[in-house]
């Protein structure tokens, strides 16, 4: 995949219904939107109209949750077909899902679950991603997740695992800088070393939002303002990568929209200071 040819989209937000009025009022400050693919699958007429409206006014990227690319039992073909049809309609620069599994043996886990970092798991990802790429020609990028379970059976580091999958599947990376920061805090590693190990030339897009403290751990609740430590990760990545876009992901504890706009402005500043060129909408 020739990632360099992808257009630079700029800074945007993950679309949530609650933001609808505000994003149209502030259209000049939001470069693009990321829609959650699953919200528009088997959609009612209102959701279909909403998607048409968004598409008419913003560049869109679609982000799905349930491809379950790490499932050893394979891809759910019915779900893949629905995702493919939506991606064809949205016609985004790229689309994304996660490095995880979400179902197995008839049980839907309901969220993104980590896989052990093994050669067998890499083969599973390669096989499943190949199937997705046969059906969808739009470039696929993969997101790193937070994990709360560590597998003693892992044969390599998370960074080495991600690098191998990206290399073998020729996919881009959706680097969630919040997830990276959270994992580094929960499991005591240096996020800079993680960046040293992954193929930075494959980073296409970023996700960012604040972390959330739950007991002794940090979790990705998408409920807080981005904190300074995460901005530091963002800034470092922006310096080292030719990023095409970054999305603020806010799902809970919604603040006044002015706070969202402040975060978008900060992200813009960090991008500009990184001298990676001006962004332009498609």
């Amino acid at each position: 995949m020739n990632l360099e040819k992808l257009a630079k989209l700029g800074i945007g937000i993950g679309f949530r219904e609650r933001f609808r009025a505000d994003i149209f009022l502030n259209q000049d400050l939001i470069d693009f939107l990321e829609i959650t693919t699953d919200h528009y699958l088997d959609a009612n007429p209102q959701k279909k109209d909403e998607l048409k409206l968004l598409k008419a006014h913003f560049p869109l990227i679609s982000h799905s949750l349930e491809l379950s690319l790490g499932s050893a039992e394979g891809i759910d073909e019915e779900y893949l077909e629905k995702v493919a049809e939506l991606v064809e309609f949205v016609n985004p620069q790229w689309f994304s899902d996660h490095i995880c599994f979400t179902k197995s043996g008839g049980v839907k886990i309901g969220h993104l679950a980590p896989v052990p970092y093994t050669k067998e798991a890499i083969k599973v990802f390669v096989r499943n991603i190949s199937k997705v790429k046969q059906r969808v020609k739009t470039p696929l990028i993969l997101e790193n997740i937070t994990y709360l379970v560590n597998f003693p059976s892992s044969e390599m580091s998370e960074a080495a695992f991600i690098k191998t999958i990206l290399d073998e599947t020729d996919c881009g990376l959706l680097l969630d800088v919040t997830n990276l920061y959270i994992n580094s805090r929960n499991f005591g590693f240096d996020w800079r070393k993680f960046l040293d190990e992954i193929p930075l030339e494959r980073v296409v897009q970023l996700h960012f939002v604040g972390s959330h403290k739950h007991g002794k751990r940090l979790i990705d609740a998408h409920a807080n303002k981005t904190e300074a430590e995460i901005w530091n990760v963002f800034a470092e990545v922006a310096k080292r990568c030719d990023i095409k876009g970054a999305i603020l992901e806010r799902d809970e504890n919604f603040p006044p929209f002015t706070e969202i706009l402040e975060e978008i402005k900060t992200a813009h500043c960090l991008m500009k200071n990184a001298n990676i060129g001006e962004f332009s909408a498609v």
């Binding site: 179902k103 197995s104 309901g110 067998e120 709360l148 379970v149």
Partner: protein, 190 residues
């Protein structure tokens, strides 16, 4: 241990609290009952129980938060009992469709109809929110229902946060009718 076998077991451990408790207290016995060899049992048992429980709990809370968004009035009326009942419900219900949170909310509102909950009028509230979700999903153009309490008064007071859990709303048979015509929809309560 094959990844397939491991994922099948992990999915069950993450989503079934009783199975998780049983496995963590007696891994050899429960592992053998699930056709795992000694080395396979050891591989799963090597995962820190604290990590396993924390992740499983985080899944439960994420699921709960989403259902609360679909049933906000019922959540207000039940408070902590909403969480307690949802925990019981989530033990046996695993949504299978793309709209998993929606499916959870419909299933949970139905589950509450069979439970002895307090305040008792919260059953009508859950029923109202369930039917509203079904109507708004576009699945039906007409939805009709009968309630045992004055559902209009309950909705109005809950919306304004003007209710007292100690004081029941008066019992009064009321009827709600949702109708969709073209792009317009209307709710009648009588």
């Amino acid at each position: 241990m094959s990844l397939q076998k491991q994922q099948n077991l992990l999915a069950k451990l993450y989503t079934d609290a009783e199975f998780r408790r049983a496995f963590l207290s007696e891994p050899a016995k429960i592992g053998a009952e699930n056709d795992l060899s000694e080395s396979e049992i050891a591989e799963i048992a090597d995962i820190m129980p604290e990590e396993l429980n924390f992740f499983a709990e985080s899944l439960f809370w994420k699921r709960l938060r989403e259902v609360e968004k679909f049933l906000p009035f019922t959540k207000k009326a039940l408070g902590e009992d909403f969480t307690n009942n949802f925990r019981e419900f989530s033990r046996f219900f695993n949504p299978q469709t793309i709209k998993k949170h929606f499916e959870d909310a419909l299933g949970f509102a139905e589950f509450l109809q069979k439970k002895p909950i307090e305040p008792v009028w919260a059953k009508d509230l859950a029923k109202f929110e369930r039917l509203r979700l079904i109507f708004n999903s576009g699945a039906k153009k007409i939805v009709f229902a009968r309630f045992n309490f004055d559902i209009r008064k309950i909705i109005e007071n809950i919306s304004r946060n003007d209710f007292d859990l100690q004081n029941d709303f008066p019992r009064k048979k009321t009827y709600a009718l949702w109708i969709k015509s073209g792009i317009r929809s209307k709710l009648f309560i009588r």
